[in-house]
């Protein structure tokens, strides 16, 4: 209700974050696959949940 991003802007943010994190980690992560979309707590609920999900993906990629 208090969103300051419209839906397309939110998509752009997700795609930007996905690309930038992939570049940073030197391996691809996906924030837009089935796994991301089926999380019990959506990674896109807020910045904290998004960060937590990215950390999970980063840790998996580091193994």
């Amino acid at each position: 209700m208090d969103a300051e991003l419209d839906s397309l802007s939110l998509v752009s943010v997700i795609v930007d974050v996905e690309g930038d994190i992939s570049d940073l980690l030197s391996h691809s992560i996906s924030l837009t696959d089935d796994r991301a979309m089926s999380q019990e707590i959506s990674p896109f609920s807020n910045v904290k949940s998004l960060l937590a999900y990215i950390m999970i993906l980063a840790a998996e990629g580091a193994r």
Partner: protein, 238 residues
């Protein structure tokens, strides 16, 4: 035509090993583009500006891996031609479900995934052309082509919706509905059936490569920035 009209362009063509896809890839190469080709098997094009990737567009994971691989070659794509397709022509009641599923995967899900991933690259430069290779079957709805025709009709819808989603990125999405052209795919169909269909068209002849390349050039042109969500059929099909 300017011999180097695509000199600064990077073009992704799916199904680039043979038939229409190969002709399209070679056309872009001839006109100066760097071409990235996706196909399930080894390359059949040798050219210094051609980069081949073994990708099954019917497998979403394969497409994602393909984009990860092509990002090692280039960080941009300007033009995508979704050409890869499979065809099984059979009465619906005896069509093997696996064959029907394969058509959905390759002919519809493939263009969706490729366009999805390519748009992420196109948005960085705010320029792009996505061109889907459709079919007269979408309009003529021939017996035996239920799933194929449905996929090709869906391809236009896919492009039309993406045209809205990507318009602000200056990315256009269009479909070219080709008719019969001598190819491996065409040879799978009864010749008499094809000739009967073609004879009923306003332009009653088989297509040649240049019929297709003409529309590809139109959609890909800098001047076509306001041409989006359109389907052009060859031969007078509508």
């Amino acid at each position: 035509m300017n011999a180097k009209m695509y000199q600064d362009k990077v073009v992704l063509v799916t199904g680039s090993r043979r038939g229409v896809g190969k002709a399209i890839a070679e056309h872009f190469l001839l006109n100066g583009a760097t071409v990235l080709g996706y196909a399930r098997q080894e390359a059949t094009i040798e050219h210094p500006q051609y980069h081949h990737f073994m990708v099954d567009v019917g497998d979403p994971d394969s497409v994602v891996r393909g984009f990860a691989a092509l990002k090692k070659v280039t960080d941009s794509i300007q033009i995508v031609v979704n050409n890869a397709a499979v065809l099984t022509s059979q009465y619906s009641m005896i069509m093997p479900p696996a064959a029907a599923q394969a058509m959905v995967n390759v002919n519809l899900m493939g263009p969706f995934m490729v366009s999805r991933e390519a748009a992420k690259l196109m948005r960085k430069r705010k320029w792009g052309r996505i061109i889907n290779i459709g079919s007269m079957a979408a309009s003529l709805e021939p017996i035996g082509d239920s799933m194929y025709a449905a996929c090709k009709a869906g391809l236009s819808t896919l492009a039309n919706v993406m045209a809205k989603e990507f318009a602000s990125m200056n990315v256009t999405c269009n479909t070219l509905g080709i008719n019969a052209i001598e190819s491996d795919m065409l040879s799978q169909l009864p010749r008499d059936k094809i000739e009967e269909i073609i004879s009923g068209l306003p332009i009653a002849r088989f297509s040649v490569s240049d019929d297709i390349l003409n529309v590809i050039d139109f959609y890909a042109s800098e001047r076509s920035s306001s041409i989006t969500a359109q389907t052009v059929f060859l031969g007078g099909v509508n």
